[in-house]
Symmetry: D2
Subunit: 362 residues, 4 copies
């Protein structure tokens, strides 16, 4: 058995922290060695500090680990961060400055010009930005982020179309799951039998991140995609899985209008990580569901162990060119799984230090 | 007390039929004199034939009425129809031919060139089409329809903007309540904790009806609005109330871009039925909710006793000009209440025969 | 028009406070003159301080009232209190000591030997306890409470059976609505598609309060009913309305087993407030639903404008004598409406000072 | 690799049929060789005939199998049956008469004196009844059943207590998931934001089956447990997982009252299948959750891959001796998994013919 990388989780008790634990326990490359949370939790056993909310049962080993305080001293060199944005703003740079690779799910630095915002299937080349970071130069540490849960499914579905046809206009209206708001998150009085047509700052993030993710890395910086976009974001009574209605105007790369078959082929043939053997990567990043009434969160969110993005209902749009529906698991593909896949990519690119004896399973 | 019109309800046992009963019992102008349903129900007491699903308790008088078979003989001259489309296609012409005013909620004849599709606040002048109908000429009977529950809230919100600014493009993505599918309707296994991104034929109906409703009556026919439109229709876990995300490109009537204030004023000042004293008409057809996170179905669907349309979140759109959210009660404003308001308008226009002694309350 | 009593609401911004406003605005006897809440809210307009959560729209007059701080100075002499228990423990005695009649929905003093815990239809005679209170003797002020939302529906249904047959054993298992936990209350991640088989201290309260309410007032104190009882309390994904499965062993008052018809008659004939004209009192306190599958929260909670208790499914029990299902609206009959009915009873008993000119509508 | 038993599924398109497929695909002992359903489906590909409703994706191999008509000719000798009761009444005897081992989940023959109703951990010895069946004598075929989904969790939790202490009285009130009603099953209008306090015939089945399962096999027949029982059955808005509130009066086997620790030990030490290596058997049939607010369907239904029964909230009962909450997965432990575990037990007891070459994987 190959040695594993010791990793730590910052913000381990929250909803995304719990998904990190579910996905990293038994991960072939990484081993959870350190869990940190707020002062309220540190010093307690994880099983007492966290209100575990997943169907996946909390492993005994984890339940018995002691929660550390959120300080770099004694932390592993690879840190998965699942912090609220304002806390991330303060803590994440401390860990990067201390030499850690901070693989963050928070929104705090996603739009920072020197911090890569990455989906491995979409824009792995943005990782070059790491070398621009002052932390990298000084301590070897750096920061990498993954997008907002609403942007990630959309962008994975759009990337193969952008490559082949170009994209000029994007319209999206979301129906987002409650787990995206964390715990306690959305009060049940707000969402049971109801829709909330608003999520604070979500539309702005979704629009900015989408264009950045589809942008090019050129001369030490990222040039966002030059397309126009409009997002409507809504919360619905779904536990996990964001559903998004999308209309797009394609670009002129093909020199003519794309056919339905060409779009389906672009999705089916989109396998940018094929051959790389990243454990978290789904075999089929974008899967098309041919049924009239799919994708649906309950039935499709777990494709590719929660890392697959499902598209469906491809049909002509009365305003733009095509419309379709996108579905992805918001706390796996849209959060913890996204960060882990980023870390796997960093391993394969040699951006994480080789595993030493000290880091191996005791 | 003024005499009341005797009315009948075709399809009285379904969800919309039940709303008709709720809204017509104690109506100042109409009195339920006849209830008809399928052969399975006819001959039974209504209370036994119908599985009553409303919070409003079934009135004893109605519970004890005997359900008639769906034949014009013995039926009143005003018929509210809440039938499935394929049954409506067969039955409604029979009643019109027998001299009844058929005020229908079904989709069967909405796009028929001689049948008016009407929202009183929006296109009352389309009622001139009645005089084109052969039934009218032969028996005095005729047919009037109201739109699909997804179109009606949208169109009420768009009409004041069309009047002042013109509308060139419409994008809409809906989150529709389960009551729109009737009873038993949507299986709970399909919708609990889920979204279904598809409602059969709904997008086609919504697009066609919207343009027709906003169209002009010219030379004996209706010219649909010449605008482009795209609808995405979804079902969500909400009992009542359709929520719709809308983006629009305004026209050139103003000669310049409309401001936010001008749009709000157009909505606030939209009172086309003011002074007409129609009992079902809401005082304020379009009400703007200033809070960030409104409208919401649970909190706003009952404005104007279910006949008000609530708009909110007016903000610039990255693709078109403006975007906002619309909410309306799908079985009141979107079905039974819509038909009753149509009937009230017909009374005020003299299109229903004067009440005779025989039609008065016994 | 008769003059109205000025009343105040302590804890006006919470879920129960909102129900107080809904039920008191347009009340024929009471007029809301004063709203108080925590320091965070005081000084603001009510419409800004409260996150209104009811389908009933917030009246403009109330929205524009300024929230007072929770101090007796300047408060009316009749106070409806909807406070969390620990705050109630501190504040309610201050108001009673200042001469106010405190009509409380909180649990803080319900089991206090000198504070009456009252349901007007059940144990109005417990109000004699008021005269035992030191506040009453010193300032004229006093305190009256209503039961927990889970106890009240049960006790209204049991009282007529206790009167005619006696009750020896009570088994109850509840399915309680989320509104009982206030706002933000139950996180949606806990209850959507789920059941929580636990509500802190609820079973203890329900058991103790039920026996006290069914007890006798004897020699200046309340003797609880001498029966045995066991409660299981659960939270389910219902907005409003507590459903309770009940099994009971009747007593020996009848000298023989009671028949189903005798139980139904006891419920049907239970009208202890008949003739008293209390505005909040339902015409039929206990209504039997004959259908197999009733009562249900969505369909039955609003009977008697939310003050009726619905029973159904009366059938023999394999362990005790009879079993049935009880349903009542938890924030109307089980909270705000209960307190208002208590206040109405106090008026009719002359326990509230006569309305003076100063207290009348300005 | 050992050869596998070819098996068939009767009623393969329904909710329980789908769970059979999920649990049997990749089963180490069994291989799905034949799928049958109603005439409407037979002749079609399974993927077209069934409306797949599980999060587990439908395997391609199964999707492409042709659905057979429900006739014994050509069917394997081991049949898992997931039929509605009235159809089961007609079809299951035909398969038994044709020499098949019919392992049924239907209620049709559960209380038949010669048909064993079995939970392997509870009453394996009831399988002796097989030898009493005329089909067995004539063709070698026979019938075995598993209990109703509401009875099974309860009985697994009660069995270790019955063994050590005896049980004299059982009170249970259920909150049952919608998947128990199949598909389309419960209309969403009935259950969203609601509780239905009634499931047809469920209380009767639950009471009768519980006492039979806990009964002894004596002289060619089953003597039901001589205890008194009362069940209240309710439907709630939960996808999967039945939650049950239980109160019990223990018997006199111990000669004194059992302590809380003794009850916990009885559950913890209950491992009747230990050492038998049945693939479907959970390591820990009854698991105690120590948290105040557990078990909960969303968090606990998947313990032991859906075959574990979780108990919690053990506390004294005011009426009987003890009360607690039980949770089990209704379509795995309570249906398809129960039948498969029965079949595994039959294999281990030699009641299924040895696998021949013809039955092996092609």
């Amino acid at each position: 058995m190959r040695n594993k990388y010791s990793i730590g989780i910052l913000g381990a008790t929250g909803m995304v922290g719990q998904r990190f634990i579910q996905l990293l326990e038994n991960h072939p490359w990484f081993e959870i060695a350190w869990l940190a949370a707020s002062d309220r939790s540190s010093g307690k056993k994880y099983g007492e500090a966290a209100k575990w909310r997943l169907e996946f049962p909390l492993p005994d080993r984890i339940a018995n680990m002691t929660v550390s305080s959120a300080e770099p001293v004694g932390a592993p060199k690879i840190i998965f961060a699942a912090l609220d944005s304002d806390i991330a703003k303060e803590l994440e740079p401390k860990f990067a400055a201390a030499g850690c690779a901070v693989v963050s799910n928070s929104s705090a630095f996603r739009m920072h010009p020197e911090v890569p915002l990455v989906i491995p299937e979409v824009n792995a080349e943005h990782l070059h930005l790491i070398e621009e970071q002052s932390w990298r130069k000084e301590s070897g540490g750096y920061m990498v982020t993954n997008p907002n849960c609403s942007a990630i499914g959309l962008v994975v579905a759009l990337k193969p179309l952008e490559e082949r046809f170009g994209i000029e206009q994007i319209f999206v209206s979301t129906m987002q799951a409650i787990s995206g708001a964390g715990y306690p998150g959305v009060p049940s009085m707000d969402i049971l039998g109801n829709v909330v047509p608003y999520i604070k700052s979500e539309e702005e993030k979704m629009e900015a991140e989408t264009l950045r993710l589809l942008g090019r890395f050129e001369g030490h910086q990222v040039k966002p995609l030059s397309a126009r976009m409009s997002a409507h974001c809504n919360r619905v009574a779904v536990e996990d899985g964001h559903t998004e209605c999308v209309s797009i105007k394609l670009g002129k790369k093909l020199g003519r209008a794309a056919t339905k078959e060409e779009i389906l082929a672009a999705w089916a043939e989109f396998k940018p990580l094929a051959g790389q053997q990243l454990p978290m990567a789904p075999e089929q990043p974008v899967e098309f569901a041919p049924q009239d009434d799919r994708p649906q969160p309950r039935l499709d969110r777990n494709r590719g162990r929660g890392m697959g993005v499902t598209v469906g209902r491809l049909r002509p749009c009365g305003l733009l060119d095509w419309k379709f529906t996108v579905l992805s698991h918001n706390t796996i593909r849209g959060a913890a799984g996204a960060a882990i896949l980023n870390a796997e990519l960093l391993v394969s690119l040699g951006k994480l230090e080789p595993v030493t004896a000290a880091a191996t399973r005791r």
